[in-house]
């Protein structure tokens, strides 16, 4: 019975005891078929065994208040893609960030993806390893969700992803740390009860323009033909901290420009342009109103003065001889003929 019970911060709902039980989604439907097709054993894989799941990674994905629809969909998409994730209610702005560690502990999660929305415009993402750190804060841009019709691929819900990294991740120590963080957070544990045993999609993390670009592709064929599933986003690193949401700063991104600064720069640029136009206008008006000095010397006076000697002026009193126009040969000929006939 879904009674309206106000859940405590990070606490479990009353009727939620089924959460720990493993749900065999895919295999439950194929179990009756299993018996029927016992002879075709190769096509049906063995059911996921409880004892084999050792990598107990759990990621808590939640957000602060004031997020918009796109962020909400992104969070839902990430929860769909990562079967080892858990959800939680929105965090109040009043609570400080280190409260998140307590929430993670209550939910028994050791990783956290926290989305924070500021000014209803900018989205920040925290990724953290819960009790002891490290953690990192990013600015998220260019979000496209699973529901966009241009993302035509599809994959099994909860299948394990391949992770693909740019070689640039190994070149710098801060990128190396981020790579380890991403690997531990995004890779689905082997034999996780909610996972599917097939590997049919790949997450890519690439570094370009000092940002980290995330893409998710579906593997169609063994020859590596891919189609994008989504979601996709761009992470702009701000800082890396030694602790989880607290602690000394290990790295600060020198290329990061806060969105406020960015907007300010744009405003200043437009203002500067307008001011420049005004100044130019003023200068022109001043120039026009200035007293102009008269030009005494004519600079173009000797343009037509050629260095040859003067020819005597010859006035013709008689008209010149008419030239025979070659085009109208007939006419000249005819007139001459007539003249000759008259003469």
């Amino acid at each position: 019975n879904m009674s309206t019970f106000k859940r405590k911060r990070g606490g479990k709902a009353p009727g939620d005891n089924k959460a720990k039980k493993a749900r065999f989604i895919g295999n439950a439907s194929s179990a009756p078929e299993d018996e029927q097709e016992k002879k075709n054993e190769i096509s049906v894989p063995a059911p996921v065994s409880k004892g084999k799941w050792t990598n107990k990674e759990r990621v808590l994905i939640f957000s602060s208040r004031g997020i918009n629809f796109r962020t909400r969909h992104l969070m839902q998409d990430l929860r769909t893609m990562m079967p080892h994730s858990k959800a939680d209610t929105k965090m109040d702005r009043k609570d400080k960030l280190f409260v998140i560690n307590e929430v993670c502990e209550i939910k028994n999660c050791n990783k956290c993806l926290f989305f924070e929305a500021k000014k209803k415009q900018d989205l920040y993402m925290w990724i953290s390893n819960s009790p002891h750190g490290p953690s990192a804060k990013f600015l998220v841009q260019n979000i496209h969700t699973l529901a966009e019709l241009k993302m035509t691929g599809n994959c099994l819900k909860g299948s394990r992803p391949l992770l693909s990294f740019d070689p640039k991740f190994d070149k710098e120590p801060h990128y190396a740390l981020l790579k380890e963080l991403f690997i531990q957070t995004f890779s689905t544990p082997h034999y996780h009860p909610k996972s599917q045993p097939f590997v049919d999609h790949v997450f890519t993390f690439t570094i370009a323009d000092n940002r980290i670009w995330f893409r998710n592709y579906q593997i169609i064929e063994e020859d590596a033909s891919l189609v994008e599933i989504g979601p996709r986003f761009v992470l702009n690193l701000i800082k890396i901290f030694q602790g989880s949401f607290v602690g000394p700063t290990l790295y600060e991104n020198p290329f990061f420009l806060s969105p406020n600064m960015h907007r300010r720069q744009i405003r200043l640029a437009t203002a500067a342009r307008l001011r420049e136009k005004q100044i130019v206008k003023e200068l022109q008006s001043i120039k026009k109103s200035e007293a102009k000095d008269d030009v005494v010397r004519d600079v173009t006076a000797d343009v037509f003065r050629t260095p040859a000697e003067e020819k005597p002026v010859h006035i013709e009193t008689e008209p010149p001889e008419p030239k025979a126009v070659k085009k109208n040969k007939h006419k000249a000929f005819k007139r001459q003929r007539m003249q000759m006939a008259r003469k």
Binding site: L97, C155, P167, F198, A224, Y251
Partner: protein
């Protein structure tokens, strides 16, 4: 005596002072003013404007700390748990075929060129898949899903149907626009051909007339122009006539010719008999009710079946 008096601790321990940012700024400014006053009293400040020069902002890059942290944080999991591969993108077959894009360019992809960038990511994923599949097969992890394995997908069937519909719609629009373009081209081409044929015919006719005039005036006494022209004139005029006659006189013209033209019985055509009263074959509903107004009228009023002008008709007539 550097001017950076702002001694605020830039960490995220939110438990130090209760002052908000505004008050902090105010206090630091007061403090700075106080320092200036002190310095002035001591005679350290020189006359003139003292401009506050900011130190270039230092960005923290604690390499040692990062490495230490990574060493502590790293979990020595087997590859089959992590499934991570680090690789540069696969070779770009298309660019290589075109002969451009040396390998040195691959290092720094231009983030603003959307297509290039996405292809870069795509090739990186491809290289990963190619590298990882043999490893997966070795580790015994399946990658191919059998046909009878039904399980929940990340996107619902509804969503996939929407996607498919959109793709199909895009395709049809593209095809339609292609067809329309081709038709337009054909029509233009057809018009061009028609004009050319008419011009050719006019030229031939002119040449023929001048030849005839020359013969009449006695300039030449050869009559061979007749044969040469006749052969070509006959063949071409017939073909062209056929093509022209199709469009030639339309129904209205035909009716008027029949009524007011030459030849045939004209009188006794209009009788008010029972048969003619009951005959409603010449009733046009659209014209009677004024329907098909702008579409039909515009079409007609445009270039639909326009009767050629007087000079053109004369030429056509004299040619035939």
């Amino acid at each position: 005596h550097h001017h950076h008096h702002h001694n605020h601790n830039h960490n995220h321990n939110h438990n130090h002072n209760n002052c908000t940012k505004k008050w902090r700024l105010f206090f630091t400014r007061i403090y700075y003013l106080f320092q200036l006053q002190e310095a002035f009293a001591k005679g350290l400040l020189k006359p003139g404007m003292n401009i506050l020069v900011n130190e270039p902002k230092k960005h923290v890059n604690n390499v040692e700390g990062l490495k230490h942290c990574l060493a502590n944080f790293r979990k020595g999991l087997p590859w089959v748990e992590r499934l991570d591969v680090t690789n540069p993108p696969a070779a770009d077959v298309v660019a290589q075929a075109e002969g451009k894009l040396p390998t040195a360019d691959n290092r720094d992809v231009n983030a603003d060129d959307d297509f290039q960038r996405e292809m870069f990511f795509y090739r990186q994923a491809q290289a990963t898949v190619l590298e990882a599949l043999p490893l997966l097969n070795k580790a015994g992890v399946a990658t191919k899903r059998p046909e009878d394995y039904f399980a929940e997908m990340a996107k619902s069937d509804q969503q996939m149907q929407k996607i498919r519909k959109k793709l199909i719609a895009k395709q049809t629009i593209l095809e339609k626009s292609e067809k329309a373009k081709k038709l337009r081209e054909q029509r233009k081409f057809g018009k061009k051909v028609q004009i050319e044929v008419i011009q050719k015919r006019q030229k031939e006719k002119r040449a023929m007339m001048t030849a005839v005039k020359k013969y009449q005036k006695g300039m030449t006494d050869k009559l061979d122009f007749l044969e040469g022209d006749q052969k070509t004139a006959q063949g071409s005029s017939q073909a062209n006539k056929k093509a022209l006659n199709k469009k030639g006189p339309n129904a209205k013209r035909k009716y008027k010719d029949q009524k007011f033209g030459f030849g045939g019985k004209k009188s006794g055509k209009k009788w008010n008999t029972k048969e003619s009263h009951n005959d409603v074959s010449s009733f046009r509903a659209k014209v009677a009710h004024g329907k098909g107004g702008p579409g039909g009228k515009k079409g007609k009023g445009g270039k639909h079946n326009k009767r050629p002008g007087k000079s053109v008709r004369k030429k056509m007539k004299s040619r035939s």
